[in-house]
């Protein structure tokens, strides 16, 4: 039984169809990397999974909870699904530690001490425990994104979604974030990662998903995906982004 099941999910913005009857199964512990040209619906796909966007048709089931637009379903999946954003979206008025303990304290009912302990554990895991008392703007982009990953981990989610987590970073900071994500993948976390970092994809992906024009065009394990893509559109795309 897959932990995430999308079947014929459609999302429209006005008359524009951003997702066109998309179906995808993700099993527990699976690492899925999603790629595709700009505007192809990658962000929309993962934002539907934690209901930042509400789909118009089709069904989404996350860990046995059917997302039917009800508040109860929304609250239940928010607890299971964490998200890391392209622009980090840290809370700028709170120190790093306060960024991390807010969710656990308010939504998980943890005491400050418990929340701090969890937060320090994950800050150590993303290798910046010494930054706990600084504010987000005092950190480099790579450090901020690692804090954002730690913030998501503090909620102890079943599933982590990444929307182009390294696209806003200077090249020299990309690897420090990818390293943390590789570590996460090795620990068995279920991950859906939208990224164009194909080196990372080769290393961690169980499944590659290629999207174009709101559709999933190709789904394949990385070996076949990179060596023998079936569709022309995917071949075309890979040719553009892979170094020759």
């Amino acid at each position: 039984m897959p932990i995430i099941q999308l079947s014929n999910v459609t999302k429209r913005f006005g008359t524009f169809t951003a997702l066109d009857a998309v179906s995808l199964d993700v099993s527990k512990g699976e690492r899925v990397v999603v790629c595709g040209p700009s505007g192809s619906g990658k962000s929309t796909l993962i934002r539907c999974i934690n209901q930042l966007e509400v789909h118009d048709a089709g069904t989404i089931t996350v860990d046995g909870v059917m997302l039917d637009g009800s508040k109860a379903a929304l609250n239940r999946i928010r607890e299971k699904v964490g998200m890391v954003f392209q622009q980090f979206n840290l809370f700028p008025h709170l120190s790093i530690i306060d960024n991390l303990i807010l969710g656990p304290m308010r939504a998980r009912g943890k005491t400050r001490e418990e929340a701090r302990e969890i937060a320090m554990r994950y800050l150590t895991r993303v290798r910046i425990p010494e930054q706990a008392d600084k504010f987000p703007r005092q950190l480099s982009g790579g450090q901020q994104q690692r804090v954002a990953i730690a913030r998501a981990l503090c909620m102890e989610p079943e599933i982590l979604l990444f929307d182009e987590p390294t696209s806003a970073l200077d090249p020299e900071m990309i690897n420090e974030v990818l390293d943390v994500m590789v570590g996460l993948a090795e620990s068995g976390m279920t991950m859906i990662v939208v990224t164009h970092e194909m080196g990372f994809a080769r290393k961690v992906a169980d499944t590659m998903v290629f999207m174009d024009h709101g559709e999933i065009v190709e789904t394949a394990p990385p070996e076949t995906f990179f060596t023998a893509p079936k569709s022309l559109r995917c071949q075309d795309f890979l040719q553009k982004i892979l170094p020759h």
Partner: protein, 290 residues
């Protein structure tokens, strides 16, 4: 019977602008008082005080007989008069601060529905803001004090009538300020709050409002200044605040120029202090974020 007997009394032309010549005898006193304030305040307000001093000097230069004796603290009656004038400070501040606190709360409660997706809630926000903004403050004060007790069959004190009228009329502006401030917060902040499972009220309380309030602080400070000035209107229903005290003293002493000049100075000093306080708060909150 007139609502403002003291005003009618003071409207007969006083001997302000007769002749010209050198300044009156009490100018040194005035300079002394102002320079004390100068020493205590920051550079910015220092400049403002200097400008005021210059204005005052010009003013005194144009008039022959100033009667600063009415508020000369070295004489017994002058000291009593001065204390009488200053005694209004308490109610001016209490009135303004109570009113602004209430208006901030009402403003926030009116602003939140204005940000809703629900058209009925948004409609409530628009109607409230448009109506309340359209009523002149003085009219609202009179209506609340004389009208409301009849409509609602309650008795209302001068103080609470003043607070209510000031708070209501200001709340529409507060609502607009809050709405703009909240709307200026990036959508990503809501999404991040959602992603760590915060519900709507926690998102507002811990994520959105703390950032919005930092941004609207200068505007809120302006509203407090505005409120301090508008509180003078509550004198018409007999509130014993700065303006009322000045009016009453004018009726007995018949020296409107000197007394109203003191009144101007009272408001000026009060507002300079408030502005400095708001700037200090702004600076402190900015360093918090870094």
């Amino acid at each position: 019977m007139s609502v403002f007997p003291h005003l009618t009394a003071s409207l007969s032309p006083p001997d302000l602008f007769r002749g010209s010549g050198s300044g009156g005898n009490a100018i040194p006193d005035c300079r002394h008082g102002a320079s004390l304030v100068l020493n205590k305040s920051g550079n910015d307000s220092g400049v403002r005080i200097l400008i005021l001093l210059a204005l005052l000097a010009t003013l005194t230069g144009c008039s022959a007989d100033w009667g600063w004796y009415v508020v000369d603290p070295s004489t017994k009656s002058g000291w009593i008069n001065l204390k009488f004038l200053l005694s209004g400070l308490y109610y001016t501040i209490l009135l303004s601060v109570t009113a602004i606190l209430i208006s901030v709360v009402i403003g926030l409660l009116v602003a939140l529905p204005g940000l809703s997706k629900n058209p009925v809630l948004r409609g409530f926000n628009r109607v409230y803001v448009e109506i309340v903004r359209a009523v002149p403050i003085l009219v609202l004060i009179l209506w609340v004090y004389y009208g409301l007790p009849q409509v609602a069959d309650i008795s209302i004190s001068v103080f609470w009538a003043g607070v209510l009228a000031l708070a209501l009329s200001d709340s529409a502006f507060e609502a607009e300020i809050f709405r703009a401030g909240i709307q200026s917060i990036d959508k990503g902040q809501y999404e991040a709050a959602h992603s760590v499972s915060l519900n709507y009220s926690d998102t507002m309380r811990f994520v959105i409002l703390p950032q919005a309030i930092r941004r609207i602080l200068p505007a809120l400070g302006n509203q407090l200044v505005y409120m301090l000035k508008m509180s003078s209107l509550v004198s018409v229903i007999g509130m014993q605040e700065l303006t009322r005290k000045a009016n009453e003293l004018v009726v007995t002493e018949y020296r409107p120029l000197e007394i109203y000049t003191i009144l101007v100075l009272e408001y000026l000093v009060l507002i300079l202090i408030v502005s400095a306080g708001v700037r200090w708060l702004e600076r402190r909150m900015q360093t918090d974020e870094r």
